[in-house]
């Protein structure tokens, strides 16, 4: 049983922990300043429809407050992942057979559906630690470490942030830096980029383990506009270099006229793919720039949280994210918070739905739907309440949907009548419990 798709999650993980540069472990100073521990725990279920990815995770953040505005924060995430994910091949009117990532078995997918690889399950374990303290009356620093481990993946990271207040603390300027090194050691080895998917037992196209380095910088300004209005504006820079491929993703090789996959015959006595597939290849460097703005507005007990992010990178992906939350107090000790998020991105320059047989070779190609052209919407509701002992609980339920299109200039022949973009439909359910002091 291959643990291949752990990479899908672990890549995301690793950089998610990097993106933690901006969130999570930095403490809003007045929330709990009595010396002692407080805890923020959450149980999450994430489930995609059609037997795709299902994830259950336990998240714990423990914060120890020391006198004079110093904090130690420790975090733990335990994650269990199962389910299927698109491997990258296009649907066809016959079943398709693929060699599993380990190279030791095959799996077959039915005709006329997006081929999914369901041969994985994985567990992730992630830790974080950070220390925050004032350096002087107006300067605050925060230093942290992150690490996470999956079967075939190891992430290690360090981050440092500095913030300085101005203008009677109405304005805060902050600078954050994060470094990470991720190592991937997929079962069977990472495949040679753009090499063919081979028969079971043939590991000649596999290389060994791979790694990448990531640097993140965030520069931000937070400003108090009035007694009820706060806003933040940030610029982020991120650079990843090294092995940026997904070793488990591949593309269909198709005929230039019909758009149908090219048949292949396994070696005598061997089992293997019945059509041609090539493993993907992405550039070995990626630079992203983002601009993020957020505002929080208090209106007579209700709070509106509105944010916008624009991202652009040198893979020619541009994205826009708009996020809105409205917290509505219910009675004395509970609240309702509807949530709406809209996301749109355009495809990476090397995003291809398939490779054309006999065409001039490309340097980079990937059919990973996460690099494609799509819109996504999240609609959710959260309900929170204070327990009799003064602790907080909350439950949220959200629906996340992605819908995309294959670039029209890439559709060949019979492909026009087939599904070309897998899309996504998922439920997010979370229960939280915060306690301490």
């Amino acid at each position: 049983m291959a643990k291949k798709n752990s990479k899908t999650i672990s890549v995301s993980l690793a950089t998610a922990t990097c993106s933690l540069l901006g969130t999570s472990v930095t403490t809003p100073v007045q929330a709990q300043e009595e010396p002692g521990w407080d805890f923020n725990t959450a149980l999450l279920y994430y489930g995609e429809s059609d037997d795709r990815v299902q994830d259950v995770s336990l998240n714990i953040l423990g914060r120890r407050t020391y006198v004079d505005d110093r904090f130690l924060t420790l975090g733990l995430v335990l994650d269990s992942l199962t389910g299927a994910t698109p491997g990258g091949a296009l649907p066809f009117s016959s079943p398709q057979t693929f060699t599993s990532p380990s190279g030791l078995a095959v799996y077959t997918t039915p005709a006329d559906v997006f081929p999914l690889d369901d041969t994985f399950l994985d567990t992730r374990f992630a830790l974080s630690a950070s220390w925050q303290q004032p350096l002087s009356r107006l300067f605050t620093m925060n230093a942290g470490l992150t690490a996470s481990k999956e079967y075939d993946y190891l992430h290690l990271g360090a981050n440092f942030k500095l913030a300085r207040d101005f203008n009677k603390r109405n304005t805060t300027v902050s600078l954050g830096l994060a470094f990470a090194n991720d190592e991937l050691d997929p079962e069977g080895g990472a495949p040679v980029p753009l090499s063919a998917m081979l028969d079971v037992g043939d590991l000649s196209n596999k290389t060994g383990d791979q790694s990448k380095d990531i640097v993140d910088v965030v520069l931000g300004v937070t400003n108090v506009a009035s007694r009820n209005l706060l806003f933040q504006l940030n610029y982020s820079f991120s650079n990843a270099s090294g092995y940026l491929n997904d070793p488990f993703k591949f593309l269909s090789v198709v005929d230039g006229t019909s758009g149908d996959p090219i048949a292949r015959i396994p070696a005598p006595g061997a089992v293997g793919p019945l059509y041609e597939y090539r493993f993907e290849n992405r550039p070995d460097e990626r630079t992203k720039h983002s601009v993020f703005g957020q505002t929080k507005y208090y209106m007579d007990g209700k709070v509106l949280d509105l944010s916008y992010r624009y991202m652009t990178d040198d893979w020619e992906i541009d994205s826009h994210t708009i996020d809105a939350r409205y917290r509505w107090p219910v009675g004395d000790s509970s609240y309702l918070e509807p949530h709406l998020r809209y996301y749109t991105q355009n495809a990476a320059e090397f995003y291809r739905i398939s490779l054309v047989n006999g065409a001039p070779p490309v340097s980079f190609a990937s059919s990973d739907y996460r690099l494609g052209d799509f819109d996504a919407i999240t609609v959710g509701m959260k309900y929170g309440w204070k327990t009799r002992s003064g602790n907080e609980m909350s439950a949220r339920l959200e629906y996340y949907m992605q819908d995309g299109d294959a670039p029209s200039d890439q559709i060949i022949g019979n492909q026009a009548s087939r599904e070309l973009y897998p899309g996504l439909d998922a439920i997010i359910a979370q229960f939280s419990y915060r306690f301490g002091k």
Partner: protein, 74 residues
């Protein structure tokens, strides 16, 4: 082209800082800003979970900063 983006961003932030000197509240007027629901990140665990989900399923990540707002005490 990137240098132009960065210079524009730096200029924007500098403008915001200088413009901001005319905005703001007195240190004793931060009662609303001190509320938990008025922090930029109200629930760090939830924010981390969302960051992880969206990073796994989309090509963008992060962007948020930190610090500022709140009671401004000490």
């Amino acid at each position: 082209m990137r240098v132009k983006h960065q210079a524009a961003m730096a200029l924007l932030i500098a403008t915001v800082i200088s413009g901001c000197s005319s905005m703001g509240v007195e240190p004793w007027e931060r009662d609303v800003l001190a509320k938990e629901e008025m922090q930029l990140v109200t629930d760090p665990v939830e924010a981390g979970i969302d960051d992880h989900i969206y990073f796994s399923k989309e090509a963008s990540s992060g962007g948020r900063g930190f610090g500022g707002g709140g009671c401004g005490c000490n």
